[in-house]
Structures are given as C-alpha cells and as structure tokens.
C-alpha cells in the first residue's frame, strides 16, 4: 500500500452552531501523499471542515486524529501548512515585504533568542524560488497583484517545509495563466516532494487528472475515490445541486 500513515482520521464529526447543523457526521481519512480536492456549494461547510481539522474551531461531536494523535494532544503543527480563504486579501497598509511574509514560515521552528539560522534562510529562499517570487522579495506585499500575493502566501506555507499543504480557495481573483502554472506546481509538489495536498477549489474539472480523491462537502461529506467517475455520479448532483451540472459541462470543455 502506498498510503499507510493516516494524517487526518475523522470520525462522526459534527459541527452545530446555534442549533443549526453546519456539518453532520463526517467520517473520512486522509493519507500521506494524497492529493485531495474538496468541492461543494458556497456555505456548504468546506472552510468549517478545514478549520475543525486545524483546531481553529471545536467540534460539537466526533473525533479528529492527526498523525494518530487526538487533536487536543497534537503539537507538531509545523508539519501542516495552511493558506486560508482570504489570505491574499492583505491589508495594503500592513508593513511587510515579501521576504517578511515568507520569513514568517520559519518563526515557529526557531529557538527563542536566536535569529534566522542558515537552514531557515535556505528554506525561505527555496520556497520563494519554487513560487517564482525571488525577484519580488523586497517589494511591499500591498503593492502586488492578486496572483503574486497568492504565490507569496503559499511560499510562506512552504517555507516551514510542511508535509501537508491545505489550501482554501486560494485562487480567487487570479488570472487563468497564473492558475494553470499554479495547478502544475501543486501537482509537482505532490508528485516530486510527496507533500499531501488538500485543495478546496471550484475548478475541479481542470485538475481532475492530478487529484487522487474528491470530497464533496455539503453539510454531509461524500468521498469519491475515482474523481473522474465521481463527476458524473448522480449522488453528486443531488448534493451539489445545480452547480454539479455546470461543473460537468465545464469539465467537457477541457
């Protein structure tokens, strides 16, 4: 078996806010080396699921294990890189160069009182090289385009050398060409560096060849082990409603 170590092991996860079920009895496992796409209608609970997995929200019911440990006892957060949904909408007046932001990826690894080590600097340079932003490093983030900012945010996540990369619709407001490069890069990180990728996106048709499995989240979760088949399954259109048809057509165009 290629996928032996479960990174996330979710059992019967529910999230209820003021009597409203946001997520209901979700069970899923995510294994080392997987590339998983998560789709679902707006408000379906994709972001909430990720926030639960990262300990940013507390579940109402159910269990989450990360690397075999109950989430409460999990400490090795630096293994998980996270790019939140609105990451690229930075406050334009925030005083940060691209380098300042990517350096943040190393902060949780350093020891107190010590400045950046050679390894830290190498990891930062390497992340910027991968995201092709080396020449932007002294620019203020507030002056960058949406696509450039997206790459900076991912470079920050990569600088911590994560084993898992979680991206929540990072490509809102990014042009098509940048997006294609971006998808190619994600696939490369997954294949060549064995980074587990969890990618919330609306563009699943475009990346159908890259991904291993597809999760559809709309309060409940449906796990499709063969995403290409999944795109045409009826279950999906019930869950996904009208958007499933759009998605379907979208896929045939490509």
């Amino acid at each position: 078996m290629r996928f032996k170590i479960p990174i996330f092991d979710v059992k019967n996860l529910s999230f209820v806010v003021r009597g409203q079920n946001i997520l209901s009895s979700i069970s899923l496992e995510i294994f080392n080396g997987e590339y998983i796409a998560i789709i679902g209608p707006n408000g379906g609970g994709k972001t909430t699921l990720i926030r639960l997995l990262l300990g940013l929200e507390k579940q109402t019911f159910g269990d989450i294990k990360i690397y075999g440990k109950n989430i409460k006892n999990f400490k090795e957060w630096k293994k998980i890189g996270y790019v939140p949904q609105r990451a690229s909408l930075v406050d334009a007046s925030f005083p940060a160069t691209v380098l300042d932001i990517v350096n943040m990826g190393r902060i949780s690894q350093r020891k107190f009182f010590s400045s950046m080590s050679i390894q830290d600097k190498e990891a930062v340079q390497d992340a910027m090289l991968k995201m092709d932003i080396l020449e932007l490093q002294d620019k203020m983030v507030g002056t960058l385009s949406g696509g450039q900012r997206q790459r900076v945010m991912i470079a920050r996540a990569l600088a911590s050398k994560p084993e898992v990369l979680i991206l929540d619709e990072p490509n809102t407001g990014v042009d098509i060409v940048s997006q294609k490069n971006f998808y190619a890069l994600l696939s490369k990180l997954n294949k060549e560096e064995n980074i587990t990728i969890i990618f919330i996106t609306h563009d699943v048709g475009v990346i159908a060849d890259d991904i291993g499995r597809l999760f559809t989240i709309n309060q409940k979760a449906i796990v499709c082990n063969n995403p290409k088949e999944a795109l045409s399954c009826e279950e999906m259109s019930v869950l996904y409603g009208i958007e499933a048809h759009l998605l379907h057509n979208h896929k045939h165009e490509h």
Binding site: W77, D100, D138
Partner: protein, 265 residues
C-alpha cells in the same frame, strides 16, 4: 551646551522621556498592527486607579499604576479570549469606570489636587530618582519580552489564525503583549500623562506606516519619530514653560502630518 541640561531635574526628565519614547514606540507598533489602540487608552485610565490608591495610601504611585494596569489588561484579555467578550463598548465602560474610580478614591482621601493632575497630563518636573529606577527596572523587563517575541507578535498581528495553526502560542503571546503594554503605559504616565500616552504609543507608528516600508524599517522609523518628538517636546516645554505631555503630543502629530504630506501620491 544647552542650558536645559544644567538642571538635574531636566536631565532626569530627559532620560526618562527617552526611555519612554523607546518603549512606547516599539510596543506601539504592535498596538497599531493589532488594532489595540482602544485597549491602550483603557489601560492608561486603569493605571490612574493605581496612582490614586498610591497617592491616598502612601504607596509608590508608579508601582501601583503598574499593578492595576496589569490587572486590567488581564481582565480585558480574559474576557476576550475566554468569553469572546470584546468590544469598544466594554472598553469604554472600563475606561470611564477607571477614571471615575480614580477621582473618587482621590477625593475621598482628600488629595484631589495637583498630584493627580500631574498624572493626567504628565509633568517633567516631578520625575524623581526613584521614578527613574522604576522606569528602568520595569522598562527593561518589558523591552526584553517585546524583543524576544517580536517575530511571533508580528506574525500574530499579520494573521492570528495562521500563526496559531503554525504552532505559535497565540493566547499566551496575546496575554504577554497586553501585559507589556500595560507596564509601559503605567510607566509613561509620569512623563506624558494618562490622557496623552495613547498618542505617543500609536502616532509614531501611524506616521511610520505612511512610508510603506518593511517591518524592521517601520519599527526603526517609529522609534526615531518618538525620540524626536519627546526631545523636541521637552525642549519646547522647558523654554516656553508648557506642559510636557501636551507639547510632546503636538510634536508627534506634526511629524505625522509631515509624513502624511510627503508620502502622498
């Protein structure tokens, strides 16, 4: 050189003022980036309760100010992080409640006089050797903590949740930041006064932000602006017999206006 330095009290005031400028501007960078300005105003008024207790009961007012400001900071952070109870309204209640309490304590103790007034608006004449020692001791602790955790605090200011998910102890560091800010504010009210310290904390950073430079340069600019305005303010207040806190604040506002104008595109 300048006759201003021929007086012992001016040397003390200048020394204390420079340390406070440094402390206020470095902590002020985080206060501005975290949008904590209202917290710093509130703490400045809480510190007055400590001053009032000190004046009436005969304890060192500065020590008492540090203590009460710390308690108030912890209360604010506790309400915020454990009850998600945080709003301008709550801060406003704490702020006016503290001011009222301080005034009542002082007038009950029969000491509603120049002493409290000098802590409201600051007074360079009143900086004693004991004050300098208090400022040095607590100021060093505050500065060491700030510098040690500056990268973490910067990350949290940038994105609290991402910082948390990368393993940074956000709650602990938030407590640390408000504690350090409380200490610095309490120390500053001697020189700048509790009504004006908020300005000295926040405006140098807001002025520095106009230059749109990276983090380190922003901090350095902010320190430079604070030192410059405290120096100018003290010199002006000495030669024109003006209240020091008010003069310092007008100087820092002038620097802000100049920064705004020269960076306007």
């Amino acid at each position: 050189m300048l006759e201003i330095f021929e007086y012992d009290f001016m040397q003390r005031a200048f020394f204390a003022g420079m340390i406070i400028a440094l402390l206020a501007s470095v902590s002020g960078t985080f206060v501005v980036l975290r949008r904590y300005s209202m917290i710093s105003e509130t703490l400045a008024h809480s510190a007055l309760v400590g001053v009032a207790v000190g004046l009436v009961a005969g304890f060192n007012p500065l020590w008492m100010a540090v203590g009460v400001a710390l308690l108030s900071a912890w209360l604010i952070e506790y309400l915020r992080s454990y009850f998600s109870l945080y709003s301008d309204a709550i801060l406003a209640i704490l702020l006016s409640g503290s001011l009222a309490t301080a005034v009542i304590i002082v007038s009950l103790g029969g000491a509603f006089n120049n002493s409290l007034f000098s802590y409201l608006f600051g007074s360079i004449l009143s900086v004693s050797n004991e004050d300098i020692i208090t400022i040095l001791v607590f100021g060093s602790i505050a500065m060491v903590l700030l510098l040690t955790f500056s990268k973490e605090l910067y990350f949290i200011a940038y994105d609290e949740e991402v910082a948390q998910t990368s393993g940074i102890r956000v709650k602990l560091l938030n407590f640390l930041l408000v504690s350090v800010v409380a200490i610095i504010i309490a120390l500053s009210i001697r020189v700048v006064g509790s009504l004006l310290i908020g300005a000295l904390m926040v405006i140098p950073t807001i002025a520095a932000l106009q230059y749109r430079v990276g983090f380190l340069k922003t901090v350095l600019l902010s320190i430079a602006f604070a030192l410059l305005s405290v120096a100018c303010g003290m010199i002006l207040s000495f030669y024109f017999s003006l209240p020091s806190g008010a003069t310092i604040v007008l100087c820092v506002i002038s620097i802000f206006i100049v920064s705004l104008v020269i960076n306007k595109k």
